[in-house]
Amino acid sequence: MSDPGVQNVEYRVAHLQDRLAAEELGELGVRAEVRAGAVALTGTVPSAQCRETVLRLAREELAGLTVHADVVVAQTTRPDHAEEL
């Protein structure tokens, strides 16, 4: 790539976040941050399919970079107790 801006990891992470917000997922609060030369993805998404979409977009946008994906699917169990207020 000739454009140094395209190769800059910081802008590539920003572009990933733009796509996460704008494309089929909508802004779900997934964070992408550079740590030790790799990109760490964290957050909670509503379904396994959403998680797969996050990982696919990350592979596309961050090709060639190491990605640590700590994205989890939201839990849907009922609470085992109430809070007394």
Binding site: L25, G29, G43
Partner: protein, 242 residues
């Protein structure tokens, strides 16, 4: 007598999440008198996604009261989303109040989506470009409507009053979110409305990385019930109705 309030926000339903919450919601009569939905029920605010939400909550044995979130506005059809939810029996509030009769007494719910702007000392001002002024005025209108709805409930002989928003009234429950984005997550104007009109509990969503527990400057308990925060289908809060 005790009033049992179940709440969750940010369930972000889409076709691939159909049926995920229904099994837990069907257990609600065992533990709650009412279910509050704190906005971001969908991902993009489409009618298709709204109908998925409807199938999760239709014909539940407890009343369901909701506000919309920013995601539910994304497709710019909030009125259509609201109508679809109402057809499924959901009470959707925007600057309005609803009274629910519970075994433990009457619980009043005042709801609005709310908006951003930030918190005291670090907030946006109604100044400068038209779009900036409109940003702050949008929040102010929402907060004013919340105040009016809570004051209306004050006349309704409620055993407890709950303020339901999507955006946060306090910074406490944003702990875990980057401080730089707090102005996009809530506004102190909502808390000021809650404190001046009075409430027993404030429930919101929106801040997926935040924390559950907080309190307004006036001492009203605040709970961030975004599903990624509570890590359950819903949480239950028991309020003393006396």
């Amino acid at each position: 007598m005790t009033i049992r309030v179940a709440a969750v926000g940010d369930i972000h339903m889409g076709p691939d999440s159909e049926g995920l919450l229904r099994p837990a919601f069907e257990t609600l009569p065992d533990c709650a008198d009412v279910l509050l939905l704190a906005g971001d029920l969908t991902r993009h605010g489409t009618p298709q996604e709204a109908r998925v939400v409807c199938r999760e909550v239709r014909d539940l044995p407890v009343p369901v009261v909701a506000v919309l979130g920013n995601h539910d506005h994304h497709d710019e059809r909030p009125e259509e989303v609201t109508a679809i939810l109402r057809d499924a029996g959901v009470t959707v509030l925007e600057g309005e109040a609803e009274v629910v009769e519970c075994a433990g007494g009457r619980v009043g719910i005042a709801g609005t989506k709310g908006f951003g702007g930030g918190f005291v000392g670090r907030s946006a001002g109604e100044f400068g470009e038209p779009v900036m002024k409109e940003f702050v005025r949008t929040t102010r209108r929402s907060a004013d409507s919340l105040h009016a709805a809570l004051k209306q409930l004050d006349e309704e002989d409620c055993a407890a009053r709950v303020a339901l928003t999507h955006f946060s009234p306090v910074a406490d429950t944003l702990a875990g979110e980057p401080p730089e984005i707090h102005p996009f997550l809530g506004s102190y104007l909502l808390a000021e409305a809650i404190d001046t009109a009075g409430a027993d509990l404030a429930v919101h969503g929106h801040a997926h990385l935040g924390t559950e527990h907080g309190m307004t400057a006036g001492g009203v308990r605040v709970r961030n019930v975004a599903q990624p925060v509570i890590r359950r289908a819903f949480n239950v809060y028991r309020l003393d109705g006396d």
